[in-house]
């Protein structure tokens, strides 16, 4: 005999967390998406240096649009979750929830990856620096760190969610 699903179809959507814990989890997921998107937008700096002037101008426009999208889409969502009156968000970085721990783990992975890339690049600097500028190298590392955080977050948090067992999941 199992548990009855009392709630019927879940009325809770991504934008309407019922509790501060859920709001904290939403912020963690949003952080994962936002950093991934920021990584793609920032990496345009690298691509711009590798293409011709015509395509570079187009990439500038794409980057500008991406930057506006980040501010226009993710910032209001962060504020929504942070200031939501029905469920004020807890800080996912201070929370000891599952997704809070995943976010910390992803942050550590991104830092470790950045450190490793820095060590490798410093040992190869005599060969690499004549080929690429310091600015480009920095852009590559920033994009990689943001992308690594986002990728790690979604890899670590993927997998079976367990049997909801009583919840209309």
């Amino acid at each position: 005999m199992g548990i009855k699903a009392r709630e019927g179809p879940r009325s809770m959507s991504f934008l309407n967390p019922k509790t501060s814990a859920e709001a904290g989890d939403r912020m963690a997921v949003l952080t994962g998406f936002a950093t991934g998107f920021a990584a793609v937008v920032h990496s345009i700096n690298v691509w711009r240096a590798l293409v011709g002037p015509d395509l570079a101008a187009a990439l500038d426009a794409v980057q500008m649009a991406g930057g506006i999208l980040i501010v226009a889409l993710f910032l209001p969502l962060f504020i929504w979750f942070k200031l939501g009156r029905s469920a004020p968000a807890m800080n996912p970085w201070k929370s000891d929830s599952y997704l809070g721990s995943v976010a910390k783990r992803a942050g550590f992975t991104a830092f470790a990856g950045l450190l490793l890339a820095g060590v490798v690049l410093s040992t190869l600097s005599t060969r690499l620096l004549p080929l690429i500028s310091g600015e480009m190298m920095l852009d590559m590392m920033i994009s990689a760190a943001l992308g690594l955080f986002s990728l790690s977050f979604f890899i670590f948090s993927s997998g079976p969610d367990g049997d909801a067992y009583g919840d209309a999941a």
């Binding site: 814990a21 859920e22 000891d96």
Partner: protein, 73 residues
């Protein structure tokens, strides 16, 4: 990898006809946190463990158990 910690949360919920969401709301965590604790993917903090055990009116060791130990402490 074998989870280092087993728990009886699922059984305790079933006995009380309690959903993951209801338990999560009662102890102030998200449903995802409860579901991943139940399946052994996430080892909860001491605070969450105490809250869960306290909610069921049990001691922590009545809810959680190390899988590689038989009561050794």
């Amino acid at each position: 990898m074998t989870p280092p910690l087993s728990n009886r949360i699922r059984v305790l919920r079933a006995e009380r006809e309690l959903s993951q969401t209801e338990l999560a709301e009662a102890i102030g965590v998200s449903r995802k946190t409860i579901s991943t604790i139940e399946t052994g993917r996430f080892v909860p903090s001491t605070v969450i463990s105490l809250r869960i055990a306290g909610y069921f009116g049990l001691q922590v060791e009545d809810v959680f158990k190390l899988t590689d130990q038989d009561g050794a402490g």
